[in-house]
């Protein structure tokens, strides 16, 4: 887009994380200060660029390049105007970050799925179209369903929710399943601590998710889609709803998509605070209006899913990766990556980290590079002692494992998992026995209760760790805990009970000293 006349565009994120540190107040102050000085500006509320430690990060568009300032609080706004930040020759300002695209954190990334996040206005379908939006759907429209599925399979795209199952194979099963009614369900119940990529994408570029789900509908013959969104993301709900309304109004959704006679309807359904509903069968139960209890598999959701019908169920990032694969071809995506992990993975740096945020990179970079070159070390300035990768069910890694490359198989080899790409750093004040206890406690709170190892085992786990740390026959408690972890691993119905031993055992194996003495006096 080019500027019309003298109106300068100023971008202030509407992203929940940016708002949580004052972006609304900043936007308001900018508007008021500009009016007071009689300067013509247009404030656009974009998504976040993902450099969250710099939020609120504002940008000014000057002769088609965007220049960033951050973190800008409402109090900083008058001084920015003093420095003439909306003019073509601004004076130096302490918060100036230079041309946004040239900031090292952003420049080193391979933004595919997040290409538009932070760039466009998430409420504007026109902006989406101007930034290569809906080109994937256009390509899909001219293809046979089996060819769309084949292209997704060839790209090597694996589910980004955590389990990393090849997306194309799932789609193929649904395409081949008999039935007149099929569904597409998006798992937007991003419950893993340390992850926020789904939220950022839905708030910053909701159309790409809608486009990806529409393509999934065309590919499998499904005519109705649901986005199951967690209640903790109210801003994402607003963004999705406004994008869905815009898509309906312009016939990108509905009973006659772009005049093709093909149908795809889409709606958002809200979750209600249950971690287990991120498990796909439990999510389907919840969508049906029931307790979110895990189903036995088989039957696979691809054959008997929502309301007993064949259902494609994928994570937000998985669907959002589809349009670019259809637009640029399977090979383009396949060329990025490492081993059997193809394409890019949006990693999220969180917890005790100086430069927290979203880093979309091709697979293969090491954890250490991510923590120090992107993350800049810990926020507290103390050494990073443990890193939990892959959410509350992911292993805690000690420093000796920081050179593991980010790749599904490499992580599996050290009994860890990449999961949904969340990385939570802890400094050396962490008490790993307390973290192991929390993992068991979390499992007890969030267990759906269907299988015994998870329902009872998690509570027993908390008790055993308490006795161990209290020094009651420590050797015996350790044996019991290992035995309990084995029972949970092999006896649980789903990943909640089955993977809770990951953080527990990794804490025991790599940080044994924390279980035998009080870490803090």
């Amino acid at each position: 887009m080019t500027n019309s006349g003298d109106v300068v565009r100023v971008y202030v994120p509407l992203d929940a994380a940016a708002r949580a540190v004052g972006a609304d107040e900043t936007a308001q102050a900018i508007g008021e200060e500009a009016a007071r000085r009689g300067i013509q500006i247009e404030v656009i509320r974009n998504g976040s660029r993902g450099m969250l430690w710099l939020e609120p990060l504002i940008e000014v568009e000057l002769s088609d390049t965007r220049v960033a300032y951050g973190p800008v609080s409402a109090q900083n706004v008058p001084s920015l105007f003093e420095a003439g930040f909306t003019t073509s020759t601004p004076k130096r300002h302490d918060l100036a970050l230079g041309v946004t695209e040239q900031i090292a954190y952003l420049k080193r990334q391979a933004r595919l799925t997040f290409a538009r996040v932070g760039v466009t206005d998430p409420r504007s379908l026109d902006d989406y179209l101007e930034h290569e939006g809906y080109r994937g759907l256009a390509a899909a429209m001219s293809m046979a369903p089996a060819d769309i599925v084949a292209r997704v399979t060839e790209s090597g795209l694996r589910g980004r929710g955590g389990a990393a199952f090849p997306a194309g194979i799932k789609w193929k099963t649904v395409l081949g399943a008999p039935g007149t009614q099929k569904y597409v369900v998006c798992n937007a119940d991003e419950g893993d601590s340390g992850t926020f990529s789904d939220r950022m994408l839905m708030e910053g570029d909701p159309f790409v998710l809608i486009e990806g789900m529409t393509i999934a509908g065309l590919a499998t013959g499904a005519t109705h889609g649901f986005i199951y969104l967690r209640w903790e993301y109210p801003e994402a709900k607003l963004a999705l709803q406004s994008a869905i309304d815009a898509a309906y109004a312009r016939r990108y959704l509905g009973d006659d998509i772009l005049g093709s006679g093909k149908r795809f309807d889409l709606e958002v359904r809200m979750g209600a605070g249950a971690y287990i509903c991120g498990e796909e069968t439990s999510l389907l139960e919840s969508l049906e209006g029931k307790r979110g209890q895990v189903r036995f598999k088989p039957p696979l959701p691809a054959l008997e899913g929502l309301f007993g019908k064949p259902t494609v169920i994928n994570n937000v990032i998985t669907f959002a990766s589809v349009p670019i694969i259809l637009d640029r071809g399977a090979q383009y995506y396949q060329n990025l990556g490492f081993g059997r992990s193809r394409g890019t993975l949006p990693m999220q740096l969180a917890g005790n980290i100086r430069n927290g945020g979203l880093v979309e990179i091709a697979f293969g970079m090491t954890l250490r590079e991510l923590l120090y070159e992107f993350g800049g070390g810990s926020l507290s300035g103390r050494p990073i002692r443990a890193v939990q990768v892959g959410g509350p069910l992911g292993a805690y890694l000690p420093e000796s494992q920081f050179d593991t490359p980010l790749d599904y198989e490499a992580f599996a080899a050290i009994k860890a998992m990449l999961g949904h790409g969340g990385i939570v750093a802890f400094d050396d004040t962490v008490d790993m026995a307390a973290q192991a206890r929390y993992a068991m406690e979390f499992c007890a709170i969030e267990s759906c209760g269907k299988c015994t190892p998870c329902r009872i085992g998690s509570t027993r786990g908390v008790e055993v760790i308490d006795r161990w740390v209290a020094g009651e026959d420590a050797a015996k408690q350790q044996t019991i805990l290992r035995d309990l972890c084995e029972t949970m691993t092999y006896g649980s119905l789903c990943a909640l009970g089955g993977l809770t031993p990951y953080p527990v055992l990794s804490a025991m194996n790599h940080f044994a000293e924390d279980f035998v003495r009080p870490v803090r006096a």
Binding site: A20, S193, Y233
Partner: protein, 171 residues
């Protein structure tokens, strides 16, 4: 001998006010024909009344042709649905790992002692209900809390107190 009739079902008088009853019925009428209607209905009830009163359960069950046990089972399964009337503001405090790494455990202790309540409790002045939550998706800028569904990041104990004071001013 005269026949004694023992009623099979004793209708318990409902504690719902007329407004509450009509809000529940409105939610049911509007949504009961959508597939998987129960969660959307419970959301609508909580949005209108701030909680899902116990006596709303038999009403919803009747409207949806479900058993009371089924509806009760769903209401109690999900942490978000409150079964008691909350205070004027609901504060969700994140307990998850990313926030723990930057002081959530200390913030939790501070919140409980400064408000004088445990989780699920409401302050004596009826202003604030404190609830735990497991991740608000603000993991790079923790510790996080959500006040009436508005997210706040980098919440130190001091900032927490200021936010609570502000919330109390609003009501």
């Amino acid at each position: 001998m005269p026949r004694r009739v023992i009623p099979l079902k004793v209708e318990r008088p409902s504690s719902l006010s007329a407004e509450q009853q009509s809000a529940v019925l409105a939610a049911c009428t509007n949504l009961k024909n959508t597939p998987g209607a129960l969660l959307p209905i419970l959301h609508a009830v909580q949005q209108a009344l701030k909680f899902v009163p116990k006596d709303a359960v038999p009403l919803i069950a009747r409207e949806l042709n479900l058993s009371i046990a089924e509806v009760h089972g769903v209401v109690t399964f999900y942490h978000y649905f409150l079964q008691e009337r909350p205070g004027r503001h609901v504060v969700h405090l994140c307990r998850a790992e990313a926030c723990q790494a930057v002081g959530a455990v200390q913030l939790e202790a501070h919140a409980k002692s400064s408000l004088g309540v445990d989780f699920h409790g409401t302050t004596a002045d009826g202003a604030i209900t404190l609830e735990p939550v497991y991740c608000l998706g603000n993991c790079a800028l923790g510790p996080s809390v959500m006040i009436d569904e508005r997210l706040q990041g980098r919440v130190s104990p001091q900032r927490f107190d200021a936010l609570m004071a502000k919330a109390r001013e609003r009501s």
